[in-house]
């Protein structure tokens, strides 16, 4: 299953990465090389094998439902690239013509 350049561009959009044409071409070659080396896994007989998402059997872990202090607003905003009036500042999401 080799990846086309269009596939790489699609994945870059899904991953929210603005990549250059040069990066796309390079990643196409690298990803195909890596995926080529893991092909042997596809030959395994996996019929009826349950997938493992977690290596240790876990029981649901609960704790008493009591109020305890969380992160303060000041600390939550400490690392914000841009903050104002106790909130994160982001570019406009709703288009200017739609209101505001």
């Amino acid at each position: 299953m080799s990846i086309s350049e269009a596939d790489v561009r699609h994945v870059a959009l899904l991953a929210r990465l603005a990549l250059s044409d040069e990066q796309i071409v390079r990643l196409q070659a690298e990803l195909n090389s890596i995926l080529g080396h893991i092909e042997h896994m596809q030959a395994l007989d996996l019929e009826g094998v349950e997938p493992t998402s977690h290596s240790i059997p876990l029981r649901n872990a609960t704790r008493p439902d009591v109020v305890r202090p969380g992160l303060s607003r000041e600390l939550a905003l400490l690392n914000a690239p841009e903050a104002e009036n106790g909130a994160f500042v982001i570019p406009r999401i709703v288009g200017a013509e739609e209101g505001a």
Partner: protein, 496 residues
């Protein structure tokens, strides 16, 4: 204090430091200052640290020295200089993951394992360099420059916890913490001649570490002795309310039984791994020699093949990147981290912040993981990898019915040259061929130095694999081997 009593600071064990403080031979403040003196001398050449924290260390040392003055009992790691991989949060430090995207990130809470080590009396000396977001096996993928191996400054210390490994190997600190997702503690341990342990998945809380692959990540120690590793594990192990995957399993005293020897223990050498093409002859010979030593000590040595583990690397390079691509989705330029300037809209902000903030290997892994999880490919890649993981886990379970511990090399070669594998991701990935299967199966593993290369003098490590939650037996074997081999693992530090 006399200068002479601390001149061999770089060789002191955790226990010796605590004993020296208790007996009044030196103070915790003097230990901290000895650590920083050594760092001043070596750090410009080695670059093990992203950040030094002398003020935090001074405050911690003052608390220990006040206890001494008041005649109070000291905690088990009192005054022991410790360093932390820079993906572990500690208030008062930055946590950068050696990434441009987190360059200025300030910790707003403490990683539980770090907090527990400090509560046990350790002194926080600094935060260690690493491959960006722990993606790598050489510590070359750091946005702040590579760490160099104290044994040979032209070579890598391994990775991704290369800074933590180099700091301990060079005697700049006594213990450090790293994280291990596919070998990122054990492989640099082997390449720097240190003792390096990944505990059982769930043994140590992952709260406060920046997640790479949540089903594989585990925190563990670098030390210069097996006993020190057991003492660090004592401090950091156990359930934590803040990490639902940390188990409620009883935590034994891991120092108990270290000297009990290996007589009668069933030790299985994983034959097909030792014979793997790509394993350097000197590494193979060192592994065989370690096994012969264990046999001489009375272990019952047998052989086993683990053919499914040969597929471990493939399964890992789907599962690891898949989980990483999901975990790293949080870096979006909104709440923290790098934000690209002059974004036209939110999508543009996300896409440029991430592309400009992440390094090449991070982008590669995010792309691989996103592809493996994307519609139409999920079953073929992620599903197949998870089923392969089941087969690997079953194979280990069967092996542990026959053996108490299993033995493989830790890494297929000694430390390689800086730049040697930088342009070839696949050959870099192969460095972790022996360590990855344990993460997939959740098993504990420890790398102990077992030889020095006859040609280069570089350290070689052997990996001892324990059954789930049986770190004690694994540590006992490690301790017996360490005592029998009695290797001097002090790096020559030539050229510094």
């Amino acid at each position: 204090m006399t200068v002479s009593s601390l001149s061999d600071f770089s060789q002191l064990s955790a226990r010796a430091i605590r004993d020296g403080i208790v007996s009044g031979e030196f103070s915790a403040a003097e230990i901290a200052s000895a650590a920083y003196s050594r760092i001043d001398a070596l750090e410009p050449d080695i670059h093990a640290f992203n950040e030094l924290t002398p003020q935090l260390a001074e405050e911690a040392a003052a608390r220990i020295d006040a206890k001494v003055a008041a005649g109070e009992l000291l905690p088990p790691l009192a005054g022991v200089p410790a360093a932390f991989k820079d993906n572990m949060n500690l208030v008062g430090t930055h946590t950068t993951c050696s990434s441009r995207i987190l360059k200025n990130y300030q910790s707003v809470y403490d990683c539980s394992a770090v907090r527990r080590l400090l509560d046990a009396g350790a002194l926080p000396i600094g935060k260690c360099n690493m491959d960006e977001f722990a993606f790598g096996s050489s510590t070359e993928n750091s946005a702040f420059g590579p760490t160099r191996n104290p044994w040979d400054l032209d070579r890598v210390p391994g990775g991704s916890s290369g800074g933590s490994a180099a700091a301990v190997a060079a005697g700049m600190v006594t213990v450090s913490l790293g994280s291990d997702t596919g070998g990122s503690i054990r492989q640099p341990g082997a390449l720097t001649g240190t003792v390096a342990m990944k505990p059982t998945y769930g043994r140590v809380s992952r709260y406060g570490i920046v997640a790479f692959a949540s089903s594989l990540d585990q925190i563990g120690p670098f030390t210069r002795s097996v006993e020190d590793a057991a003492m660090v594990l004592n401090a950091i192990a156990g359930h934590d309310d803040m990490d639902a995957t940390s188990v409620r399993e009883a935590v034994p005293d891991f120092t108990v039984g270290l000297g009990d020897g290996v007589k009668g223990l069933r030790v299985g050498v994983v034959r097909d791994m030792v014979d793997l093409e790509g394993c350097a002859p000197e590494v193979r010979a060192a592994t065989e020699s370690a096994l012969a030593t264990l046999a001489t000590l009375g272990a019952e040595v047998g052989e086993i093949d683990l053919p499914m583990s040969q597929h471990g690397l493939a399964a890992y390079y789907i599962i690891g990147p898949a989980e990483a691509s999901s975990n790293l989705a949080r870096f979006d330029g909104i709440r923290y981290g790098y934000r690209a300037p002059d974004a036209a809209d939110v999508l543009d902000l996300y896409m440029r912040s991430r592309a400009e903030g992440f390094g090449a290997e991070s982008i590669r892994r995010i792309m691989l993981g996103t592809h493996a999880l994307s519609s139409g490919y999920y079953d073929a890649y992620y599903g197949t990898a998870q089923k392969t993981r089941t087969l690997i886990t079953r194979e280990f379970a069967a092996a542990f019915e026959r053996f108490d511990v299993l033995i493989t090399p830790t890494a297929p070669t000694v430390a390689f040259k800086i730049g040697e594998k930088a342009e070839d991701p696949l050959s870099m990935y192969l460095s972790d061929v022996y360590t990855i299967p344990l993460n997939l199966a959740g098993l504990p593993g420890i790398s102990v130095p077992c030889a020095k290369s006859a040609t280069t003098g570089l350290p070689i490590g052997v990996q001892i694999i324990g059954n789930h939650f049986d770190e004690s037996t694994m540590l006992r074997v490690a301790s017996a081997l360490e005592a029998a081999l009695a290797l001097d693992m002090t790096p020559p530090l030539t050229g510094i």
